[in-house]
Amino acid sequence: MIRLEKRPEPSQNWALATPVLAVLATMVAGGIMFALLGKDPVEAIRTIFWDPLFHPDFAAFSRPQLLVKAGPLILIAIGLSLGFRAGVWNIGAEGQYIIGALCGAGVGLAFYPLEAFWIFPMMVIAGALGGWAWAMIPGILKTRFNTNEILVSLLLVYVAEQLMASMAVGLLRNPEGSGFPGSRNLQQYASAANNELIAGTGMHWGVVAALIAVIFAYILLNRHIMGFNIRLAGQAPRAAKFSGVKPARLILFCLGVSGALAGMAGLFEVAGPAGQITIDFNVGYGFTAIIVAFLGRLHPVGILLAGLLMALTYIGGELAQFMLGLPAAAIQAFQGMLLFFLLAGDVLTNFRIRLGRAEVA
């Protein structure tokens, strides 16, 4: 008989091993799914994980694209991970990302066609402030009225989407766009464009910001009292209270930081790879970042790796779609398996498998 026995402390080894095991299990289960769809599983897995990095025709293009795709995921996930560690559940990063993009792009477009070096920094600040302000809504409602931040932040995503649609056809619409929705293309406005810093590398300011965020989060969590409070509040809320952690301040800090980072991610995206505010500018980075945060074990370095892995499955998944004719839904299922196996693997972190009969205590 197999029993699960709770470990007195989560196993460090299993905590490190489960992400790797989850990836392997996903490859196996995904391979079976691809085989059932009538595709060669080995070729499909190779197309997803190997070709974007090493294919002679694509790799030179798709390797930098990994950074472009991973940048916003990492930046958002770092912010979310702080809150998740403290038990503050910001599910609405997608909305904060949208508002950040709107505010940042709005500031940039307000100065069009003026060319000046300070426009882009101002856009970054506006993007961060926009995301921060949007996250403050669930934050203040939570600290003042004890509302549930999961629901409020999630529902605000849909409000943000409507606001964006309205902006794309109204206030921010390109006056030279022949009446079509969508703002001017910021890529064509030098002072506001978030171009590659070194051509051909995919490295734009958003990727730089993501790397800086990883370093800061690491220092914060390991060397700073706020980081200690965050971890304490998550692991032992009562002890945190006794040691003088003010829950309201902690909640506002976590939501504020994650909102600001998501807002910046939105700004970097709209000024760079995406180029313009459109009716459906957002593509779900804010939600995918939740997966990335957990896949990375809420640890800054883990999130960095998880973001790159997630980007790889996106880009490889696209290749698999048009090279092998796999349906898009199969790729999404494949990504879903990754999270599923990871969470399943967490059982091993917290529990021990025991064979034999339960002993009567």
Partner: protein
């Protein structure tokens, strides 16, 4: 700079490989904004692509990427397709426009075809359909068939394409029935069955008994069926709802165009063009008029279709005023394509504002 030379070199390699192996099938790429079985817009592009594939058999190889978000993701998909040796890429959503132009600039030897936009480049064409011609016919039917003199219109996004459809429908409903009034509901989505059903219910509650929709699902027809009201197929024939509530339909027919353009690539005669085809060229299909429609009304509608095909009738013929009463087209004057392409106003008689 490095990236551009790199891509250019890759493009060159692809192109020379293509020339060396002239017997190889033409590789045709499609980028779809929705799932290929969404029942509406993307499905029609996909099915048309399959018809094109069936037409050419082994001479073409079809690669399709579905559910591609507009923006950076679309550009990456197009670039990867070009790098993989695709000869011609059809990008089938308005939001792919800037991306198509960008990627087209990097791959001068690959042909690009962008649907429903307005930009072109030496290797980028655009194409769209004159759906307003079909709307005119549906508008006429709506005006004739309504008993409450209240017709409804479910609109998606306030873009010229949608506004043209509303105006064209209204003008012809009003001509057919001077007492008619039209309610427009904006739902800001192309495909959301729940929202479309809600909008239909809202219109029904206002006393509307014929509904036109510029959204892609069959949800409005399902709702109309319950209520015993009438509607039209949109993008697809939606014949499963015939003879009522679906009394006719506007059908997207892209296949002839795809066959023509791929043939041009094969023949080496491909040139960048702006195509705006209507009923005459088969890009806009009119679904069968159902038996619910009285015979004389069917004949009137058919006469309108024949007139449009023959070129003797244009749906936007003056006298027409703008909503605020300012004159737009004088007696007998016909709207030019430029004015139609950027249409951002209602014609006189429609109540309410275009949201912005």
């Amino acid at each position: 700079m490095f990236r551009r030379t790199l891509l250019a070199a890759a493009a060159l390699a692809v192109a020379s490989a293509g020339a060396a192996l002239a017997q190889d099938p033409i590789k045709v790429g499609f980028v779809l904004v929705g799932p290929k079985n969404d029942g509406g817009w993307s499905q029609h592009h996909y099915e048309s692509a399959k018809k094109m594939e069936a037409h050419f058999g082994d001479k073409v190889e079809l690669v399709v990427q579905e559910s591609v978000p507009e923006g950076a993701d679309a550009e990456r998909v197009m670039t990867q397709m070009a790098l993989s040796g695709v000869d011609i890429v059809f990008t089938t959503s308005f939001g792919y426009m800037d991306g198509t132009i960008n990627v087209g600039g990097k791959f001068p030897d690959v042909k690009f075809e962008h649907a429903t936009g307005y930009k072109t480049a030496p290797n980028v064409s655009n194409y769209s359909a004159r759906f307003y011609e079909g709307r005119a016919v549906m508008g006429h039917l709506a005006g004739r068939m309504t008993e409450s003199n209240q017709i409804g219109y479910i609109a998606s996004f306030p873009i010229p394409e949608v506004i043209r459809g509303i105006n064209s429908s209204y003008i012809h409903a009003k001509k057919a029935n001077p007492d008619v009034e039209m309610n427009v509901v904006w739902i800001f989505t192309w495909f959301d069955p729940a929202k479309e059903a809600d909008a239909t219910q809202a219109l029904l509650d206002q006393g509307v008994d014929v509904v036109l929709a510029h959204t892609d699902s069959t949800a409005p027809l399902a709702k109309l069926q319950e209520a015993g009201a009438l509607g039209f197929g949109q993008a697809a024939d939606m014949a499963e709802y015939a003879p009522a509530p679906r009394i006719s339909s506007i059908i997207d027919e892209w296949a002839p165009y795809y066959i023509e353009r791929v043939q041009a690539v094969m023949d080496g005669t491909w040139e960048s063009v702006s195509t705006w085809h209507g009923i005459k060229d088969g890009m806009v299909g009119i679904g069968e008029f159902s038996e619910v429609i009285p015979e004389d009304v069917r004949a009137e509608a058919q006469a309108m279709v024949d007139g449009i095909v023959a070129g003797t009738y244009h749906p936007f013929t003056g006298p027409l005023n703008k909503q605020d009463g300012t004159p737009w087209l004088a007696e007998g004057e016909v709207a030019d394509d430029g004015a139609l392409a950027g249409m951002d106003f209602y014609v006189e008689g429609i109540s309410g504002d275009i949201p912005n």
